[in-house]
């Protein structure tokens, strides 16, 4: 079997169910692949791992991938299992926020960094809010690992994913009625999330291209299986979680939320989505995430080969 290493963007959870399902259900075996899945973590930059040769393919968000590309690391999107964005800003209703346009000024907002801050910065830019604090701007708090800043009322809003942190807030005892959410998708600043990326030079090697195609095919099969069998997928994720910290309830709910995001995708990158992402990022004002239109940042070669 051919060896292939996949670097995840984050810890083992249903966000990456497709890959785990593909492995445990033998879909990779069917394609004669031996896939190693490396979980990520808060301070692992998947792009760096790829550059260091620690992995062949990585799951990454497009803003980070494009930023890395501008930094000289030639990442190419070879597949896009996530069609829609699950990121949103979740606020306490009692903080008095109802309209981003008018109510954010002077508030403290929790944001993820380490490559995940780009969509937020773009959004604030379109809202014309400074991120340096003060009366007319927002105070940005580098959100740590959990939803505590909201529960402790250290921030008016925090970043959440529909499938994960939002659920944790509910688990903590707050109800949807206590909260106001703003999806990036609805604010017109949605950027593409979990996609599969590899280094440009891999695409010059026909053998590698073939391997990647088989990988994408099996992975997508895994995703579709997971969408249809959320409980079983959650079970598989749980089996693969080495920390033993995840619970079946949490993962099942995550899986069903994730299914909504992967639903519209067969793995092929939608050019329109790509274009919208690039435009959002380019609109970064004084400090745009990327300064010029990227070239060759994606390819259909793999998905075409895999799916036809």
């Amino acid at each position: 079997a051919d060896d292939l290493t996949l670097q995840l963007k984050w810890v083992t959870q249903a966000q990456f169910a497709g890959y785990y399902v593909a492995r445990d259900k033998g879909f990779y075996d069917e394609e004669d692949l031996n896939v190693t899945i490396k979980p990520g973590g808060p301070d692992i930059a998947p792009t760096q791992v790829l550059a260091g040769g620690g992995a062949d393919v990585t799951v990454e968000w497009m803003p980070a991938a494009l930023a890395a590309r501008e930094k000289g690391l030639p990442l190419v999107n070879i597949a896009q299992p996530y069609k829609s964005s699950g990121m949103m800003l979740t606020c306490l209703k009692e903080s008095g926020i109802s309209d981003p346009q008018t109510d954010f000024a002077g508030k403290t907002l929790g944001v993820w960094f380490a490559g995940n801050e780009y969509p937020f910065l773009s959004w604030m830019n379109t809202l014309g809010l400074s991120t340096e604090g003060g009366e007319d701007g927002v105070t940005v708090l580098k959100q740590g690992f959990n939803v505590d800043p909201l529960l402790q009322k250290q921030a008016a809003c925090i970043s959440t994913m529909t499938y994960n942190e939002y659920g944790q807030i509910l688990d903590a005892g707050l109800t949807p009625d206590d909260l106001v959410t703003f999806k990036y998708e609805d604010q017109g600043v949605a950027t593409l999330e979990d996609g599969l990326y590899t280094l440009e030079q891999n695409l010059d090697d026909p053998e590698m291209v073939d391997k990647l195609a088989r990988f994408v095919r099996a992975s997508m099969k895994g995703w579709k299986y997971a969408e249809e069998h959320p409980e079983e997928a959650a079970e598989i994720v749980l089996d693969n979680d080495e920390t033993g910290a995840q619970t079946i309830e949490h993962q099942t709910r995550m899986m069903s939320e994730v299914a909504k995001l992967t639903a519209g995708s067969d793995g092929t990158l939608d050019e329109a989505d790509y274009q919208r992402t690039v435009e959002t990022l380019l609109a970064g004002g004084s400090d745009p995430v990327i300064s010029k239109e990227p070239e060759g940042a994606w390819t259909h070669a793999i998905t075409d080969k895999a799916l036809n």
Binding site: A114, L141, N146
Partner: protein, 307 residues
């Protein structure tokens, strides 16, 4: 070079001559290594010659040459082996990034080191000294508190950091709190040992003079404790920086060295990461150096400082 120096030089060179054949063998096997090996051997021989001469400035010069050699080797390795800069940038690029980002580095320095580390260190040290004096009078408290203190000191701070960030907010106050927790017990343990470090004869003298408690504290135990106290202060000076930076990984405003490092890694701006590390190393060494200097002034009488 006079005779004595030449003799010392020959003696000190001996271990190097033992290692040299291996290095040269390695260079022959991997020709790319040749310049690295040559530079290393040359610089090292120069250093040995310098220390053998024992000139007044060689104490300062040798570590500088040693450091410069390492930087040079680093630069050469990066170029010869074409290490991708997103993995390990060469020193030259780090230097460029350093000069380009001075204002960011300064903001981060103020936030993390001056506000977080220094404040926390001072609060922690003061609290530890006061506590030490307080429990110095009570053998009961000492016996009860110190074993538990040792246990708490063994708690990995990285575990306390998220909790303290949760308690004290995301700004520098929580970083200072982490530093306080980190430095408190090492200083306490040292200070308690120091206050007890008077010898029996000195205590007996105080007794024959019928010295009251505060007199014997100020005039005997405090001065006698100073070498111990500074031992603790020195150890914790580097701990404080690490603590403040680590705590920023668990939540911070959008400035600070820990914040910048994790953000910059995400953006693959490795030269900036290393520039921050450089600032941390310089600040840490400086901090340590200043404490050591004060120690020299305060404990001038201690045998280790006399020479």
């Amino acid at each position: 070079m006079n005779g004595v120096a030449w003799q010392i030089f020959r003696r000190e060179l001996r271990p190097t001559l033992l290692v040299a054949p291996f290095l040269i063998f390695a260079a022959i096997m991997t020709p790319a290594l040749t310049p690295i090996v040559l530079v290393w051997l040359g610089a090292w021989t120069l250093n040995i010659a310098l220390t053998s001469l024992d000139l007044p400035f060689s104490r300062v010069l040798t570590p500088i040459i040693f450091g410069a050699t390492i930087l040079l080797l680093w630069e050469m390795a990066c170029r010869i082996f074409e290490i991708p800069p997103v993995i390990l940038p060469p020193p030259s690029r780090i230097a460029v990034s350093f000069t380009q980002n001075t204002s960011i580095l300064w903001t981060d320095f103020v936030q993390t080191i001056l506000k977080g580390a220094l404040t926390g260190w001072m609060i922690g040290a003061t609290a530890a000294i006061v506590t030490a004096v307080a429990i110095d009078r009570s053998p009961f408290l000492q016996r009860g508190l110190l074993p538990i203190g040792n246990f708490v000191a063994a708690l990995p701070i990285v575990g306390i950091a998220p909790i303290l960030v949760m308690w004290f907010g995301f700004d520098w106050q929580s970083k200072a709190a982490v530093v306080v927790v980190m430095v408190f017990f090492p200083i306490l343990v040292n200070m308690v040992a120091g206050l007890a470090a008077t010898d029996a004869m000195q205590r007996d003298q105080m007794a024959t003079w019928a010295a009251p408690y505060w007199q014997s504290l100020w005039k005997l135990r405090m001065p006698a404790a100073m070498p111990f106290l500074f031992n603790g202060l020195k150890i914790t000076s580097t701990l404080a920086l690490i603590g403040a930076i680590v705590a920023e990984f668990f939540g911070s405003p959008t400035k600070g060295m820990g914040f910048r490092i994790s953000t910059a890694v995400g953006r693959l701006d490795l030269p900036l990461v290393w520039a921050e590390i450089l600032v941390a190393a310089i600040a840490g060494s400086l901090f340590y150096g200043i404490v050591a200097l004060i120690e020299k002034k305060v404990t001038f009488w201690h045998p280790s400082q006399r020479k």
